[in-house]
């Protein structure tokens, strides 16, 4: 199982967050990436935490920053990629994998196929921020800024077009070892196609390893030396 780290990025700055509601600035993206390179994390996920309408200016600031990024660790990027021109703007960037959320929740086949043409299917990740409400699995639809029921149809679409599916435990994002493994029992996605994040800590990684999950992504607590990747591995 791979063990990676995630960084939230917005308007050119990176953040540590708790439940995607409280943000704590972490400063410069390149500095954060340099630290993760040094720790030799297996992969880095850079996510723009977009709620509702995204600003083109904000996306452009973040893409410019990405284009200047220097790293020798595999990078995945997502957040606010919603149009074919956004996909075109990603070409040449130092990213190996593209993370899409609204496109999968909207079952937007044409858009996802366009992304596959540009990046290859092996590079496409579906991102599903989920939570359990009254025993029903709900997914956060970022474009609409609302929680909706995670239907079988959405899951089937993800399985058809995404190489792996990132499952974010929305309620526990930023907390140590609080990821609810029970959430996975409500999904119809094989564990070897799942990347978990949101409350991932050492104990969760130990459990995830034993279940055959593809990857665990630790939120950016891994930037602190006392929580370096060796400790988590």
């Amino acid at each position: 199982m791979r063990v990676g780290a995630s960084i939230l990025l917005k308007n050119g700055y990176c953040y540590q967050s708790y439940g995607w509601n409280r943000f704590r600035p972490l400063g410069d993206l390149q500095t954060a990436i340099d630290i993760l390179d040094e720790y030799e994390v297996d992969e880095i996920l850079i996510v723009r935490p977009i709620k509702g309408v995204d600003s083109e200016d904000s996306l452009n600031i973040d893409l410019k920053l990405l284009s200047e990024l220097k790293t020798i660790t595999p990078l995945s990027f997502g957040g606010g990629i919603r149009s074919n021109s956004d996909i075109n703007n990603l070409s040449g960037l130092p990213i190996e994998r593209l993370c899409l959320s609204s496109a999968f929740i909207n079952i937007n086949e044409g858009f996802v196929k366009n992304a596959i043409n540009s990046f290859g299917r092996q590079a496409i990740l579906a991102c599903l921020p989920i939570t359990l409400i009254d025993d029903v699995i709900c997914v956060y639809h970022s474009e609409a800024n609302e929680l909706i029921k995670l239907s079988d149809e959405i899951q089937e679409f993800c399985m058809q077009y995404a190489d792996e599916i990132i499952i974010i435990d929305m309620s526990n994002e930023g907390n140590n070892d609080y990821f609810q493994m029970d959430l996975l029992e409500h999904l119809k996605i094989p564990l070897n196609k799942i990347i978990i994040t949101g409350g991932v800590g050492k104990n969760i990684i130990r459990v995830a390893k034993s279940t055959g999950i593809a990857s665990s992504i630790i939120e950016n607590r891994v930037l602190h030396s006392e929580n370096s990747i060796d400790y988590f591995k």
Binding site: E40, I72, N88, S91, P94, E96, F119, A123, D163, A214
Partner: protein, 210 residues
């Protein structure tokens, strides 16, 4: 100087970054008359059909073949490696450059649907491997003879090489037996993993190859 083929696909910047770390000058080229250096790199993030279409539209496919016929160095990475073969099963069947006597096939096509290979694998090589295929480093960046480490794979199609003229390394994982990790054939080097994103091992491999 190293020319990196740029048709609007692929992580060009990742290659530029690692070559800059090694203090090797490089440039992205998008037309045949720009291809002038002794070594070209065909980078690899994308899909075989659209990538080959763009190579043909820009006539870069002919420039790459001419570069090869002149005995100059070509390094294909991931999809770039697969495009050096005769054909790929991707996108309903894609005719490729045909510079390596091999086919590119869907991984585990008879097993689970959407089977792919994403992750890190052990990697080990020594200079004898390159010497056996008559492929010598040209820039002398290192005296290292042996390299051991880990490399990052992300692919859903794999190269099945049968060429007797080439030196092969298989992916060292039983699940992907029969698929090439690396093929070297004189001036051609095909790499299935991403050395530009394989941290220290990737850096050291570039030093040995270049």
């Amino acid at each position: 100087m190293i020319d990196i083929i740029d048709v609007g696909c692929g992580n060009i910047q990742s290659l530029t970054n690692i070559l800059t770390l090694l203090q090797v000058p490089s440039r992205a080229v998008n037309s045949p008359n720009q291809v002038k250096s002794n070594t070209i790199i065909l980078p690899g993030v994308g899909s075989a059909g659209p990538y080959m279409d763009k190579l043909k539209e820009s006539s870069l496919d002919q420039a790459i073949k001419k570069h090869h016929s002149e005995g100059k160095r070509i390094i294909g990475i991931c999809l770039g490696f697969q495009l050096l073969t005769i054909s790929s099963e991707e996108d309903g069947g894609t005719e490729c450059l045909g510079l390596v006597d091999a086919q590119t096939e869907k991984i585990g096509s008879n097993q689970l649907r959407n089977c792919s290979h994403t992750g890190w694998e052990h990697f080990q090589i020594d200079t004898e491997y390159f010497n056996a295929a008559e492929c010598q480093a040209q820039l002398g960046l290192t005296r290292k003879r042996k390299l051991k480490g880990r490399v990052f794979y992300n692919h859903e199609y794999g190269v099945c090489s049968t060429s007797e003229d080439a030196a092969h390394l298989e992916i060292p994982n039983k699940m992907y037996a029969g698929y090439s990790s690396m093929v070297v054939q004189k001036n051609l080097i095909g790499i299935q993993f991403h050395p530009e994103k394989s941290q220290v091992t990737g850096l050291n491999l570039f030093e040995m190859m270049l």
